[in-house]
């Protein structure tokens, strides 16, 4: 599979030559009509996914989950439990796939790493003064170095929304490039925009391109810590961005909606968006993830229902 080089895509290096060039480029991207975008997302949400397609979608969704615990109260025990669940989500059914990753704070990376040792489950860590991102670049980079040194396979960074909204795109770009360099070849980089704070779809499209130009391996909607997180519309928009970016540069970038996706039905709608917008090249956990914690149990319950024909209940899946 192709992976990103840590530098910007060659075809578009000119646009990052100066602050002015970057601004011109980002503001020259086609606009987004909010009504049309949301209508398209709603239409795709009416796709009716049944039987074999549903079974496939549920397993695919499970394999795309970044099982996440990002609480101040996280303990090694909690993280170990999460790791065990990621490796074997359904203790009663070994055919259930493992999740893509567990996602923790940097100080828990070593614990998580140990908990998933010997499996294909990756360890992702939110770094760069998550979730606000309000710290000096040195502090952010130190945070990233900690996570990578502890063995993180993936780093989820937040952008400086204040700088972005103030129009200081080059500052945001430089930070992403610096974090990307700090990750080196050891970790893939997910760039979180906090779309709820960027507020307009035009901003989300610009942020997507900015992140990809700076070398993001993944673009991610949100931290899950604000009121508006992933929505079908903002994810659709980001899928259009990665599709267009690959068409222009040949570089494929992943997408991760995070926060607020709780049911299998919702997850399947997102997979439909992926399938019909970016295409099947993205229908793989190397290129698409769900940032979610409660989603997994609903997927497992739906999976049990498909296998047995009966709904079980919350006591038939683990609470970890």
């Amino acid at each position: 599979m192709p992976t990103n080089a840590p530098t910007a895509a060659p075809a578009l290096t000119d646009v990052t030559a100066s602050d002015a060039a970057l601004r011109r480029f980002l503001h020259g991207l086609p606009g987004v009509d909010a009504v049309g975008l949301e209508a398209r997302a709603a239409t795709l949400g009416t796709r009716s996914i049944k039987t074999t397609a549903k079974a496939y979608a549920i397993d695919l969704a499970i394999s795309m989950v970044d099982l996440t615990t990002l609480e101040g109260a996280d303990t090694p025990g909690k993280v170990r439990a999460l790791g065990a669940k990621a490796v074997r989500p359904d203790p009663t059914d070994r055919t259930a796939p493992a999740t893509a990753a567990v996602c923790v704070y940097p100080d828990m990376v070593a614990v998580a790493k140990e908990a998933v040792a010997g499996s294909a489950v990756k360890v992702a860590s939110v770094a760069t003064a998550f979730p606000a991102g309000r710290a000096a670049l040195d502090v952010k980079l130190a945070d990233v170095r900690d996570a990578v040194a502890a063995g993180a396979d993936e780093v989820d960074m937040v952008i400086d929304r204040g700088a972005f909204l103030a129009g200081r795109y080059m500052k945001v770009y430089d930070e992403i490039v610096a974090v990307r360099e700090t990750c080196g070849t050891a970790a893939r980089l997910k760039v979180i925009f906090e779309t709820g704070e960027l507020s307009t779809y035009d901003n989300i499209r610009r942020a997507s391109w900015l992140g990809m130009l700076a070398g993001a391996d993944f673009i991610k909607t949100s931290t899950g810590k604000v009121a508006v997180n992933a929505t079908p519309a903002n994810t659709l928009l980001m899928l259009e961005a990665v599709r267009d970016f690959r068409a222009q540069t040949g570089v494929q970038v992943g997408v991760k909606p995070a926060g607020g996706i709780r049911t299998s039905k919702d997850a399947i709608k997102f997979l439909v968006l992926v399938n019909e917008t970016a295409g099947e090249d993205w229908l793989d956990n190397h290129w698409f993830r769900f940032g979610a914690s409660s989603l997994l149990n609903d997927l497992l319950m739906q999976r049990q229902k498909l296998a047995t024909g009966r709904y079980s209940g919350p006591d038939y899946v683990t609470v970890d």
């Binding site: 606009g31 987004v32 049309g36 009716s48 049944k50 074999t52 397609a53 099947e280 229908l283």
Partner: protein, 478 residues
């Protein structure tokens, strides 16, 4: 399971609709045989299965129906508006209650996808009855004088592309204003109108207020020519519209015509490209392009032509064509063999004239009438595919360089029903929309309908307006 995300079939159940083996004409509150006993068959365009046998109206039946409508007119028009409103509200609610049944029926008889009948047609049908029910007791305040009077018996002839919606557009304002109705649905799609007759009975509508006469063109012609009809409303082809205009000329009948179109969809270089692509798709592939206001001429600014066409082709490749009863189907069947032949011959002519034809890889079902979504590029105003209404899933792509050129090309058509403008610049939307000679101009959207918004044409697209307050005028003596 394969690695690709194949959607399993998700068909809507047919068991929600019970189609009788035969139907009569609906005259004076009763189903009755045709005077000469003639019948015709209605088939499902997606499978060629015979759905039912329908009584075929002739001149004698038209006369019976018009007489019934005349008898009913006195009492119906004398009812207070609020009373007529009650019937209309009741009809609207019954349509909502039976919407799943009616959506499946419409899909079976017409061939359009259940996604459209369920999400577009039926909600709009109910909305039209609700909207005009609201007007029935407020006619004094509609701006047509202090107590406008109904005209009498309305003869209405509707097409096969939106059978139930066109019925609603015609019947709802007619009843709200106190007229009685004789309606002839198209010969390929009579079923939903006959089910509507049943809805009228369920609503307790007085006998004779609504009469439904399935039949062919001769029945339509007899209805239009009938001396005791006061108002003629027709939606359909321009050729038939012209014939009707000749028949009605010199009589005291009021006439509205809603005819063909060749709508221009203008995309400027600063347009929201992804949404414009959706709008283009919705503009021409909605209901397989069998829409009189379809955006069948795409006018793209030359500077973004390549980018836009690439996006459009990629998008067309994701359209799902097939069983219209499958909830995931985007493109259903063409309504009739006759229409399919017409589309095919116009497309062949387009190719012969040198336009470049493109369709996505797309498997067509064996039975039924199908046509793959088709694009023509390198089209000029001189090509037949840029001038004639194709009434199928065929889009002609032309280019322009300046706003003036876009407006000139958009207006350079004998028709004038609809147009679209795509740009992020608000001032340009207003400037261009003002210069377009079309009944509806959509900006950054396409094919949006609402009962409160008047709809109608310029030039060969007809005259008169349906929908909105303006739609009342056609049924009032003003």
């Amino acid at each position: 399971m394969t690695s690709a995300f194949e959607y399993a079939p998700a068909p809507e159940s047919r068991s929600v609709v019970d189609i009788a083996p035969s139907y009569g004409l609906f005259i004076d509150g009763e189903f009755t045989d045709a005077a000469d006993g003639k019948v015709f068959k209605t088939v499902s365009p997606s499978s060629e299965e015979v759905l039912s046998e329908i009584a075929q109206a002739s001149e004698a039946d038209v006369d019976r129906a018009v007489k019934a409508a005349r008898r009913a007119f006195g009492a119906w028009s004398a009812l207070p508006g609020a009373e007529r409103a009650k019937y209309l509200f009741r009809i609207a609610r019954i349509i909502q209650e039976r919407s799943r049944e009616l959506a499946v029926l419409e899909t079976l008889d017409n061939g359009k996808p259940i996604r459209e009948t369920r999400d577009a047609d039926l909600p709009l049908v109910a909305a039209h009855f609700f909207y005009y029910a609201g007007w029935a007791d407020k006619l004094d305040h509609a701006g047509f004088g202090s107590s406008p009077k109904p005209l009498g018996v309305a003869g209405q002839v509707i097409p096969w592309n939106f059978p139930l919606l066109m019925l609603a557009w015609k019947i709802a304002p007619a009843l709200a204003t106190g007229n009685t109705v004789v309606l002839k649905p198209a010969e390929t799609t009579p079923l939903s109108a006959l089910f509507f007759a049943d809805v009228c009975r369920q609503a307790g509508l007085p006998r004779g207020v609504v009469n439904i006469l399935p039949g062919y063109g001769d029945a339509g012609a007899a209805l239009v020519a009938h001396p005791d009809v006061n108002k003629v409303a027709f939606t359909g082809s321009t050729a038939v519209g012209k014939a009707i205009a000749k028949t009605v000329a010199g009589t005291r009948k009021k006439l509205t015509l809603e005819l063909g179109g060749k709508g221009a969809n203008i995309v400027f270089d600063d347009a929201p490209i992804d949404q414009a692509v959706e709008g283009i798709v919705n503009g021409i592939f909605f209901n397989q392009g069998q829409v009189c206001c379809a955006g069948s001429r795409l006018l793209v600014q030359e500077s973004i032509q390549e980018e836009l066409l690439e996006s459009l082709k990629r998008r067309l490749s994701t359209l799902r064509l097939g069983d219209p009863l499958d909830k995931n189907t985007d493109i259903g069947a063409i309504n009739s063999e006759e229409q399919l032949t017409r589309i095919t011959s116009l497309v062949e002519q387009g190719e012969a004239e040198g336009a470049e034809r493109w369709s996505p890889a797309c498997e067509l079902p064996d039975a039924g009438y199908w046509f793959a979504p088709t694009l023509f590029t390198n089209v000029t105003q001189a090509h037949t595919v840029a001038r004639d209404e194709i009434f199928g899933p065929v889009l002609s792509v032309l280019t322009f360089r300046t706003p003036d050129e876009a407006v000139a090309k958009a207006n350079n058509t004998p028709y004038g029903l609809s147009a679209g403008v795509w740009t992020e610049k608000g001032s340009r939307i207003l400037a261009v929309a003002n210069k377009l000679r079309a009944g509806v101009v959509w900006s950054n959207t396409f094919n949006k309908f609402d009962p409160t918004s008047p709809f109608g044409g310029y030039k060969e697209s007809g005259f008169g307006r349906e929908g909105g307050r303006h739609g009342l005028e056609a049924y009032l003596d003003v």
